[in-house]
Symmetry: none
Subunit: 237 residues, 4 copies
Amino acid sequence: MTDPDVRTSIMRAAYEALCEHGYTELTAQDIADRTDKSKSLLFYHYDSKEDLLADFLEFLFERFDDRVAETRDLPPVERLATFVDWFLYGPGENDRQSFHVAMLELRTQGPYNDRFREKLRKSDDQLREILEEILRDGLEAGEFRDHDPETTAAVLIAAFDGARIRQLTIGRDAYLEEVREGTATWVFDDLLAEDASFPADRDPRTLPENDHQHRLAADLGADTREADDETAERDRE
Amino acid sequence: MTDPDVRTSIMRAAYEALCEHGYTELTAQDIADRTDKSKSLLFYHYDSKEDLLADFLEFLFERFDDRVAETRDLPPVERLATFVDWFLYGPGENDRQSFHVAMLELRTQGPYNDRFREKLRKSDDQLREILEEILRDGLEAGEFRDHDPETTAAVLIAAFDGARIRQLTIGRDAYLEEVREGTATWVFDDLLAEDASFPADRDPRTLPENDHQHRLAADLGADTREADDETAERDRE
Amino acid sequence: MTDPDVRTSIMRAAYEALCEHGYTELTAQDIADRTDKSKSLLFYHYDSKEDLLADFLEFLFERFDDRVAETRDLPPVERLATFVDWFLYGPGENDRQSFHVAMLELRTQGPYNDRFREKLRKSDDQLREILEEILRDGLEAGEFRDHDPETTAAVLIAAFDGARIRQLTIGRDAYLEEVREGTATWVFDDLLAEDASFPADRDPRTLPENDHQHRLAADLGADTREADDETAERDRE
Amino acid sequence: MTDPDVRTSIMRAAYEALCEHGYTELTAQDIADRTDKSKSLLFYHYDSKEDLLADFLEFLFERFDDRVAETRDLPPVERLATFVDWFLYGPGENDRQSFHVAMLELRTQGPYNDRFREKLRKSDDQLREILEEILRDGLEAGEFRDHDPETTAAVLIAAFDGARIRQLTIGRDAYLEEVREGTATWVFDDLLAEDASFPADRDPRTLPENDHQHRLAADLGADTREADDETAERDRE
DNA sequence: GATGAATGAGATTTCATTCAT
DNA sequence: AATGAATGAAATCTCATTCAT
């Protein structure tokens, strides 16, 4: 896998195939179909389908790193609000949801698959680290009251993930807003120092729905525009 | 499916097969192997494997009802503690975990499968209802401070489910205790009226690990003993 | 594999497929094509193609037993002559040759395949035992001069097998007659007591070519007639 | 294929690959892996894998010629003893055996492959010629009694080859010694004139095992040293 | 000469489901 | 009610060979 373009195009195909078929029903052919290459080529670049998907997790992980870096200069409260939005984006973003459903299926293979689990773990470690960093920065900046960043991070991540999962799997969208509001009530109200507040346009209790500023494409990183063009071209053939 | 015994024996076989193989790798043969009947018979009783598994969800739902009923007479705080334990049982219960992993896989099929989703939804409705009932009972009894039961229920369920899922899929057990303690800090401390408290032996912050009083078998309901005998008999053949 | 007819029909199909395609090029489909059943059925009865072929070796072994039994009542010299004929049948028997070529390919997998090797070994043990028995019987009957049956058996089997192999693989038919005559000269002349002799019509040095009395079908046992009819019927469809 | 070095390095790679994988499982990649060049290059030099292997047979044939020439000056009895040793080397020479197993697999393709068969035939012709030459020289020199060199050569080659094949394929090493002793008893005892005898240290009946003076490398000819160095270099990269 | 990338044509196996009995 | 036998439709992976560079 010398050429990064090849990898990227396979990863994009895997992404699209996962969105359309889900993980359980995903076949190597589905991925190849979203490429301008043959199925055999997948096995030229990867030893197995599992191998390809493990690299897909790695790929997502790399992209996530970049997106995190972009928020590094925001003030803690702002970063925290962005963090909440990442998770609790609106239920109307269908493409994004279908991808997250597939990712959820893939995540459930962690217990059976060491390589998947390792990648998922790395991703989890990173996620907690960032949230803890935000919380600690807020403490230092005097914007947050005293609390234990580790448990708070764990609770927030678990609650957001749980809300998303329940919303996706049973289709009850209310979970998103209920958890947004519930965490605002139970956690953020207490967490924010008296003179701090969630940005007016980001208050979890007043913002009825995410403003879609983080579009689907965000999941795969920044170079969305060109990629979509490429896809379009392929479809025209 | 006239004979309830037949249904029960198939359900039990499905349960065992799910524990051993997971949902994704589950085959009709795996279920039949844990029965004293043939694979063909499964298709006599059910139109398809999906049909059988939809009934399995229904079956679990029925059993869950019974277990809920058993707690109906406990005082609200005690019931709440029991509720927490249901979710955050210790990471050492391997049999239980393997079943929950399989259930998690199955849950991820909700978005693709209307019948699964309907059952999951019913189950979710029931779960929230119970928790809300507990919270409302506590409010009425003056044991809980004023709060919104709906959002609180949603947050707790989401947080507990999210913790379990992350623990299971990435194998990071710390989530269980962190969320147990985090919810104790952020929610329960505020929730409990000044003169009320979690039962001494149930305080989420002091109880290092669940006491295993809810054993694996609980997942399938009360009639565990006979079932095991049945299994033993089959193995002897 | 309860029904012996099914096994027999699969074995016959394997036999025919081996004759036509050889072992190296043999596919499961080739075998299925010579059956009135589907390819899947082969995997219903056998865990793998290798498994099927191991059973094929076993099957041949069973049939060989029967053929050996038939010669048990012949006098030693006559049996020995029959033995020679088994090996050194004429080069013109094409069907038989193509089967033996395939068997030879299969035999070369012995070093890589424990199950094949075990069956081949069993078959070798049986073959040597029979020849040694013939030689010992001849000694007791005073028809053979004193010699060591074990080494003689080994030399004869090796020489006959080697002749066959070289004839088959390089297509030099002369090996058959040369080894027939060579063993007659070096071994049998010395072996036979003065007053004994190879049956007039069986003297290895005068019989220019095997009389085809042991036809191809012999390889698969006695029930050739019906089997061929069955094959014919299938071809007509 | 202008450069003989390139050919030699491919031939050596083919040899090593055959030893490790056998013929049936041999892939072009396996050969390329033992080269410092790419798989594509094999197809630049040869039209097909079959073509390469046909040349490999040719290559072996050329080397064999050289080794035969080396024995040309020995007295007939000595040459005959050397001949026996070539075939009946001890069972402990594992590297040599793995190569001979692969060659045996390759030989079984003769009936399906004209080019292979032609090379094998040439090799067989040469082998018989040499043995017949030895036998005739011995007759002329008065060291051997009167006999027919053609049939004797055929019997010996067949017996030795058969012994080797049975030893390799079923793993019964006894064949080697039994045939060594059997031929000594039935053929050589009669063959040698009264006043001639097998070299004391070469008598097939007293020499329990080949003295390994003909090492593995012999199979590929004399230039072993450099070849090993080359291999070592490759491994270091 | 030399190679990385690419592919078509299989091959083996799997499995839900059906059907005759 | 019960089952052994049977199958079609896939899915993963392999590999000799080709080709653009």
